[in-house]
């Protein structure tokens, strides 16, 4: 029964450590602060591994304060852990460990507040994936948010992080308030807050506009965090300015938790009132839009962090499409894809951080050829680009293949083209930047910019990464091992994910648990916790999947080489490229960095979401 004590402990322990570090950080030596926070992370990781093992045979349910249900009724608050929850907790712990290791030398002047904030971030994310209660989910969600805003604006002496943090904070808070309004409506209708209790209580009512509105509002909160179009505007601004180790957590897992929130509430709380098929069209349409806009905007960036941020938007679109099927095979692929993406994107952000530290810039044009003498970073960055383009056997490639096959079994074959396109465009953009920065290919572009009032160099008004302050005290001469090790470890992890023999089957079981609403409610309320035995023989790599992955990798290389040598293209082709760029300008101008615009887009999104859920 000891496993049942783990979920509350995995929240309480880092919370306690964070408070101690915030209070006593000034008198503690840096080494102690680093060691204590790393140890806490590792303990949380150990806890999530124990939960992963336990969830192979049953869901882990712990009622806080011993308020176990009698005859399916309880007034208590519950943690319900299944395989997806445990897996996401493990992912959170791994990424936080990587970020903290990287920070060891990266942020030399960093104060203990940074560690305390990172640990609080860990608390918010772990709590969010383990809880079985709508309001607790909201509280953890807000904790995650508040800490993320503070971490984004951590470099409080600079202009850009402040604006990025402000946009991020206002938009995400608005999203969270929408979610809370939805939760209030759910409570008003059912008198319950637990996922399982709400599900059972809603089963007795007919589905009316109130439930639709509640679902719309709750999903809005999660989709804002999940950066679905048109809620995605905050993401690039926040990622562009947050410290690189924090970006790893944002792109690697925080954004994905928004999608997890949609999946969890759709398959538990709202499942009895609104069958998952109701959400399919709206999720798939939002997914396609998000994927296309993210991938296209990614191509247009020269600020490396914004480039990676928009690639995350593109992948989020792919995740939404894969979730939209609500089929175990596709969602299993999605689970693998999320893990692979987190590893690869994390490594890429850390590589960008190394560039910022050693070269003082994250601008593709300004850095042209200046990464040539960073041999290991070069290999990692280019490998990351290939992995993002779904090169087998990286976990991203496996995830893409599995979701494509799951979707086509469910009768959706069109997403394959979309997935290949997103991988090719985002991977191509990273490879293009890598070829220019680390290999010095192509003609070095000249930066013609005018200096604005704040001394920012702006080229046609767009955000460039040319005038960034280093995140360390002075330039780092050689890249320390504590900065390279997490990069290499994350990439190796991304590679291992594609090669682990049991991963695909395990992910499919996890997806099955996630989508099994009756099983979830029975585990939480009736004490029937056993899960179905593992499905034998889930396939991993298939020939067609390998083919798709190879196609996207080759396309990415082609896109990258074309972009690098665009000056050598025949005039006709250049004309075509130029014509394509015209509508792109209109799209780019919507990403204005203006708070009011983003709020307006959010309201448009809520309206469209409501219409989408209501008419389907």
């Amino acid at each position: 029964m000891v496993v049942e004590t783990l979920p509350p402990l995995m929240v309480a322990l880092p919370l306690l450590t964070a408070t101690v570090l915030a209070a006593a950080g000034r008198v503690l030596p840096r080494l102690v602060i680093d060691a204590v926070s790393l140890l806490t992370c590792l303990l949380v990781f150990a806890g999530s591994v124990a939960l992963l093992v336990a969830t192979g045979s049953r869901r882990v349910v712990s009622w806080l304060g011993g308020y176990s249900p009698e005859h399916g009724v309880s007034v208590g608050v519950v943690f319900v852990v299944d395989r997806v929850g445990a897996g996401l907790a493990a992912l959170v712990a791994v990424l936080v460990t990587a970020a903290l290791t990287y920070t060891w030398r990266y942020f030399e002047e960093v104060e203990s507040y940074f560690h305390a904030l990172i640990l609080l971030f860990l608390v918010g994310m772990v709590g969010f994936v383990l809880t079985g209660d709508l309001f607790n989910a909201f509280v953890f969600f807000e904790l995650m948010g508040a800490v993320a805003y503070a971490l984004t604006g951590y470099k409080i002496e600079e202009a850009k992080p402040l604006q990025g943090a402000l946009n991020f904070a206002v938009i995400n808070s608005l999203g969270a308030y929408c979610a809370l309004l939805g939760i209030g409506l759910v409570y008003g209708r059912t008198g319950e807050l637990g996922f399982a209790q709400v599900q059972r209580a809603l089963a007795g009512h007919h589905t009316d506009w109130l439930v639709l509105l509640a679902a719309t509002l709750v999903f809005t909160g999660f989709l804002v965090k999940g950066a679905a179009v048109p809620f995605h505007f905050w993401l690039a601004d926040a990622h562009a300015v947050a410290p690189s180790p924090v970006c790893v957590l944002f792109s690697g897992v925080m954004v994905e938790l928004g999608i997890y929130g949609v999946a969890r509430t759709a398959s538990t709380a709202f499942s009895s009132a609104l069958p998952a098929e109701r959400f399919r069209p709206v999720l798939m349409v939002a997914g396609v839009l998000t994927a296309v806009i993210g991938a296209v905007m990614c191509q247009a960036q020269s600020h490396l962090k914004r480039l990676l941020a928009f690639s995350t938007v593109g992948h989020v679109g792919v995740f939404l499409v894969a979730l939209g099927a609500f089929e175990p095979a596709a969602v299993g692929g999605l689970v693998v894809y999320v893990l692979g993406h987190a590893a690869v994107k994390g490594a890429l952000f850390l590589c960008t951080g190394i560039l910022l530290n050693t070269r003082g810039s994250v601008d593709e044009a300004q850095l042209h050829g200046r990464g040539r003498d960073l041999p290991l970073t070069r290999v990692c960055f280019l490998a990351g680009g290939l992995a993002l383009a779904a090169l087998p056997p990286f976990g991203t490639g496996l995830g893409e293949t599995l979701s494509e096959e799951g979707l086509s079994h469910a009768g959706f074959s069109w997403p394959s083209a979309l997935f290949v396109g997103v991988s090719a465009l985002t991977g191509g953009a990273v490879l293009r930047a890598g070829m220019r920065v680390f290999v010095g290919m192509g003609i070095p572009p000249s930066i013609q910019g005018e200096t604005s009032v704040q001394g920012e160099i702006s080229v046609h008004g767009e955000t460039r990464g040319v005038d960034e302050n280093r995140e360390t005290e002075g330039a780092v001469r050689s890249v320390p091992a504590t900065m390279l090790a997490p990069v290499v470890a994350l990439l190796a992890g991304g590679l291992a994910l594609g090669l682990l023999p049991g991963l695909a089957a395990s992910a499919q079981d996890a997806a099955q648990q996630l989508l099994d609403s009756a099983g979830y409610a029975a585990a939480a309320l009736d004490g029937i916790r056993a899960v179905p035995p593992p499905t034998p023989g889930a396939e991993t790599w298939s020939l067609s999947g390998l083919l798709f992955d190879m196609v996207s990798t080759l396309l990415a290389l082609l896109i990258a080489v074309t972009a690098v040598y665009s000056d050598r293209l025949p005039r006709l082709l250049r004309g075509i490229v130029h014509a394509v760029r015209l509508p792109l300008g209109a799209l780019r101008s919507t990403h204005s960095g203006h708070l009011g615009d983003y709020v307006a887009w959010l309201l448009v999104g809520v309206t469209l979401l409501a219409i989408g859920i209501a008419v389907s």
Partner: protein
């Protein structure tokens, strides 16, 4: 049960959003955000309201007295704590923005245009 509190909640949310969209001053924008959050307080309290009921404190009233729902009150209290935190963070950011950008007008913040 009157429908008025729900209309008020909806109105507060929308009027707060309107303020955010048209705001010319970040302090005003932060205040507008708390106005939208007030919508959640009103909604939650409206959900738990019962006509003729008293406060859910059983120290000086007999058990079985008609009381309003204490759960939503606890939720609202948590919500207020969240609001205080977020408002503090945002106002701190606004002060720093004033120092670094020399303005608190969102229309004049141009560091993050694409």
């Amino acid at each position: 049960m009157s429908v008025l509190p729900y209309l008020v909640a909806g109105w507060l949310f929308l009027v707060g959003c309107h303020g955010l969209v048209t705001s010319r001053n970040l302090v005003h924008a932060v205040a507008c955000l708390t106005v939208t959050q007030s919508a959640t307080y009103v909604l939650l309290l409206a959900v738990g309201f019962r006509a003729g009921a008293t406060a859910p404190v059983f120290s000086d009233i007999p058990v079985g007295t008609r009381v309003v729902d204490p759960v939503v009150q606890a939720l609202t209290l948590t919500d207020i704590v969240v609001s205080a935190t977020i408002t503090a963070v945002l106002l701190a950011l606004t002060i720093q923005i004033h120092k670094r950008h020399g303005t608190v007008n969102p229309d004049e913040l141009r560091a993050l245009r694409d």
